[in-house]
Amino acid sequence: MHGRPRTAPKPEDAAASAAKAQKLRALQSQFLSYHHNRIYTKEALDASAKLLEVNPEYYTAWNYRKLAVEHRVKESDSSPESVKSVFDDELKVVENALRQNFKSYGAWYHRKWVLSKGHSSLDHELQLLDRFQKADSRNFHAWNYRRFVAALLGRSVEDELQYTEDLIGNNFSNYSAWHNRSMLLSEILKKKEQESSSQDIISKEYEFVLNALYTDPDDQSGWFYHLWLLDQTFKAKAPLLVSSWPVPGSDLVVSGNVSLADHPLSSFSEFAVALERFPVVLYFNQTVEGVNSSTVTIQSTFVQNEDVTWKPLSPQNSRASKVWVGYLDLSGVDHHSSASHTVEIKLGHHQGIMSSNGLQLSIPFDLSFTVSAKPLETQSSKEEKVAWEEDRFYACETHLQLAIPSLCYDGIAVENKYEPTTSDWQIGTIAEEISQIRNLLAISDSKIGKITLARLLMAHDAMSSPYATKTVHAEEVLGLYSELMKLDSSHSQYYRDERSLVLLQQLLSSREMLLRYCFCYGGITSSSTYGPICLRLNNQSISRMGSFDKLLWVQMLDLSDNELHSIEGLEAMQLLQCLNLGRNKLRSFTALDPLRYLKSLKVLSISHNEIGLHSIDTTRYSCSASPLSHNGEIIWSHDVFPPEDSDVTNYWEAFMVFKSLELTQLDIVGNAVTNEKFKSFLPKVLPKLQFLDGQNLHRI
């Protein structure tokens, strides 16, 4: 039952229930003795029936009755009548039990079992259901059973659809009826071969549900159905590759294994990777699986296709991910010759990469870029720490204009002459819904209406361009989320997160916009070359990071002075070497889990967060890296860290994040967890660490 307050039991009720329990226990022990001795006499059956009438949740008794039915059928003269009467007895027992508790799993299951044997008449079932659905129109047992009976009876989907329409007409807050309607319509839509007839059905449903939304915008049932309809309108979208690193057509210069501070970026339109192997990142518009050396082929002079292993970048140990990474081994490249090597990557030519709903990546993508080695300069041995101070960053506009190629932006779209797959009907539908919801909001203040509008507008923008570079409605959406944060404070974190994602899309919506946030670290160095490019998204009130597809190239990222509580998705930024997460709202080391995938990360600041401040770590429940879960890739290195080391167990979460990193610089000051003991533990887990909170460890 819904919306009915529970009343506290009175003392006399307690006494009565004690007496009932006493009686029940006696009945139960008697029943069990029948059961154990396999007695199926009338008295025995009556005892079980009586027991079930009092307590329909007693599974053993239902199972006993199943055995009894088998026994009785075997003993009977096996005429249809006598078999039917055996089963009819069961139906009666179930009905009595349901009268006691119409949400008893055991009773409903037993009824299904009886009917599936096919000896009983089904005529009574719909009537029975009507009664139970009237008693509680949202009894999901009854609804499940209704679907079962409707299938047995061969009732047409249209009849059942009409039934949901009737119930919704009586009370459109009946979420169960809406839900069943969506189930039935899915079935109908699956059968429709012509797209236009499916579209007609969906359009009619929009009209239907708008009546509910307008009549009572505060009722959620209709909105949920509306959301389902939107899903139907845009579903069956084939996966697309939306972004990659390297960018197609780029020329990479590999400058060998040098420290970041030491290697200035020499020239234009070139990316430098200070690695012996470098990543190829494929970023899809949705979760896909099946990325491997047979679905993605790499042709180059220095690496064999079969040698590349593609890994999904997802914190959950799943085989599917939006982002995949493969590492190319550079050992075959001659570091002393500046000859460039072409790498060609082809995907989508063969089936195999597919989305969770089984759709194949069907548009082929070809990426090609060149790699050349830069002769090693004399290595300076000076160790310089990265300072995140404001005066270290320079706006070197002309340099950046050239250094960040426009290909970063619509590289894939341009390269592949992408044609939009959204139909006029879809765009028309979403535009219509936007105007309907806007009209509604003009006369009614509805939280759920506002969030729906925000989602619709974002969907509209995304549809006009699958690479989401156009954000026509961003300002309006930001305004909606800001309003919602005020209106609905209990969900403000959710709105803040959604707002952050939109804000990031807006900030990164074009190359011109992006350039405003790019700076040269250290400015022009002595040799008239430039320091590394840093993307500075600090102080933007961002609570959640997003738009990673635009940021695959970033090696230095400043996210300080935001409101981040999670860095989910950051694992896509495989080139990241320096990351500033200072002065955010990160609450635990488990929230830093995505860092584990950033093999290039050297410099990290997590100073002035809230790590260790809150005793309950909510991230832990959703993350894999905890001692309780076994899906994290735990590699014990017994030599360095004997598991019995008490520090490891004390700082397990920190250990899990840091053990796979090779940080040279870490700032962790200003967190509740930071104390001398912890600081003495860190160099043990991070042997390459040179600067801890600004102190040079090697000089001590």
């Binding site: 009370n171 708008l210 009546n211 509910a212 307008y214 009614s444």
Partner: protein, 541 residues
């Protein structure tokens, strides 16, 4: 009627209360007084229960309306005793301009016993009506069953009959309202609900607004014209054109309007089997009065039908009422007397100040009522429904609403296949009332004609029988006076009022009971002796 059958004398001859007439107010009073332990004698000069609230056969209805009541022999001829004087009782006719036409006497003759035509129709019960509470509290629910009125329709400015969006579900399902109108209307309903259930001061509608005319409040709430009209006439059931200050004799205040809306809303969904706000008793409204009479009889009330009262017995010295002389000649003594409104006591009138029971009744106004027997339903999809014609929807001079109720054979008011149509409208003059009813009847029949021709041309294969024009078999039009009732030693009950429900009549009855018996509860709670039947109302599917 002058030849009265010989009656055995009534024993005892002394009662706490004598009630003459078995209309609904009198019957409820009898049941309430009996339940309070009073000895009650309940008389009716007619051979049937219900008086002005009765359901009758066509012929009986005609004779009840048309025949002048017999005047009784001068009671002074047989003086009651030395210390008692007699005061004559007059009968007044409360019906005029009776116009009855039968268009198919043979057909009606065949089924002559199968009708139950309401004298005071159209009248239905709101599920949250005070009358329902009285039925439940008195235990009269054991004797009467109900069915739901399936639809409520409204004649809009464009001349279409549209469903009345009177509940959340009805608004959702409505086909004629725009989405914005749905939103505005539901918002207003929520506002009404908030006013009654909210606890904050901000939830309440201000006293100033409550005292203002409802029509002004609706305008202030910025309700569109169409919705305003639906609320005023089809939900709040306003009789007079609320927009026309001159013609509007009864202006509904916001407070009253809100209460009527609340009654409507609490009616929807009160009983599981009732589809809307309204229900109707199977076998006609006359059943209600009978149910209360049965209840009274269980509690010891004595019933005698076909028994007129011919005179009042008055104490010579004090001039106080002492008793009544019956048509049988027997003298009955009682402390109190309640008479149905046909009876007047000329000698008492004027000497005593009138204490009116119904403030709302415009005694000067009359009700025009009409009954039609049809051969098929006006609507193909439903058989029991209500139609409201708001003022000026039929013709510009129409200043009052017309309400039309069609009841089908499934409510056992007519033979199967036939339908009874009740109409009513308030009027000042008989001619005006007749004009309104005629116009409504013509409109309904014509409206349906055009509809039928359309649908048959569209699909000629339709079975002719199902699509047959509704033929008028029988028609009665009459003008009924309104009386407010009065309370004194000799009290009288009000006539059926011009409203659709029983709320006002119930209020008057409660007031009458409480004036006569100020210290007795009106149907104390938990009257049921029978635990099987604890206060459930039987509404059939």
């Amino acid at each position: 009627m002058t030849e009265l059958p010989p009656y055995p004398p009534i024993e005892p001859s002394d009662f706490d209360l004598v009630i003459v007439g078995t209309g609904l107010p009198e019957s409820i009073l009898a049941a309430a007084a009996s339940a309070a332990g009073k000895s009650v004698l309940h008389l009716d000069p007619n051979p049937f229960y219900g008086s002005h609230f009765a359901s009758l056969l066509p012929d009986d209805l005609s004779s009840f309306l048309e025949k002048p009541r017999p005047s009784y022999p001068d009671p002074a001829a047989a003086p009651g005793g030395d210390d008692l004087a007699t005061a004559s009782v007059d009968l007044r006719s409360l019906y005029s301009d009776v116009e009855i036409s039968s268009f198919a006497p043979e057909t009606l003759e065949q089924h002559s016993r199968k009708f139950n035509l309401d004298l005071s129709g159209p009248r239905v019960l709101f599920c949250a009506d005070k009358a329902i509470d009285a039925i439940l509290r008195s235990g009269a629910n054991q004797y009467v069953e109900f069915k739901s009125i399936d639809a409520s329709l409204f004649y809009d400015k464009g001349g279409n009959l549209v469903n009345v969006p009177d509940s959340r579900a009805a608004i959702f399902k409505d086909k004629s309202l725009s989405l914005v109108e749905k939103n505005v209307l539901m918002k207003f309903f929520k506002r009404v609900q908030q006013h009654f259930s909210g606890d904050g001061e901000s939830d309440r509608i201000s006293e100033e607004d409550l005292a203002s005319p409802f029509v002004e409040f609706l305008a202030k709430m910025r309700l569109p014209e169409k919705i305003k009209s639906v609320i005023l006439y089809a939900i709040a059931m306003a009789d007079y054109d609320q927009e026309d200050k001159e013609a509007c004799k009864v202006v509904i205040s916001t407070k009253e309007g809100m209460e009527r809306l609340a009654l409507h809303h609490s009616s929807v969904g009160r009983f599981a089997n009732a589809v809307g706000a309204l229900i109707y008793p199977i076998y006609g409204q006359g059943e209600l009065a009978q149910a209360f009479c049965r209840r009274a009889a269980v509690k010891g009330c004595i019933y005698v039908l076909r028994m007129p009262v011919i005179a009042l017995l008055i104490d010579k010295e004090s001039g106080q009422y002492r008793g009544v002389r019956l048509g049988s000649g027997q003298d009955i003594f009682s402390r109190k007397l309640v008479l149905e409104p046909s009876f007047t006591v000329p000698s008492l009138r004027g000497s005593l100040p009138l204490n009116s029971l119904m403030e709302n009744v415009q005694v000067k106004a009359k009700v025009a009522r009409g009954i039609c027997i049809l051969t098929s339903s006006l609507r193909p999809d439903v058989s029991n429904f209500l139609i409201v014609y708001p003022p000026r929807s039929l013709y510009p001079e129409q200043v009052t609403s017309v309400r039309v109720l069609q009841i089908g054979a499934n409510l056992a008011v007519c033979p199967s296949g036939m339908f009874v149509l009740y109409l009513s409208a308030l009027c000042d003059e008989a001619s005006e009332g007749k004009k309104i009813l005629h116009s409504a009847i013509n409109g309904l029949i014509n409206l349906d004609d055009s509809k039928i021709s359309e649908s048959t041309s569209a699909s000629t294969v339709q079975t002719e029988e199902a699509r047959a024009d509704p033929l008028l078999l029988w028609k009665a039009l009459y003008i009924q006076e309104l009386t407010a009732g009065q309370v004194e030693t000799v009290s009288s009950t009000p006539m059926p009022d011009g409203s659709l429900g029983f709320n006002d009549a119930l209020d008057a009855t409660v007031k009458l009971f409480q004036t006569i018996y100020p210290h007795e509860p009106f149907f104390p709670e938990t009257p049921t002796e029978d635990p099987e039947d604890d206060g459930a109302l039987s509404v059939e599917m």
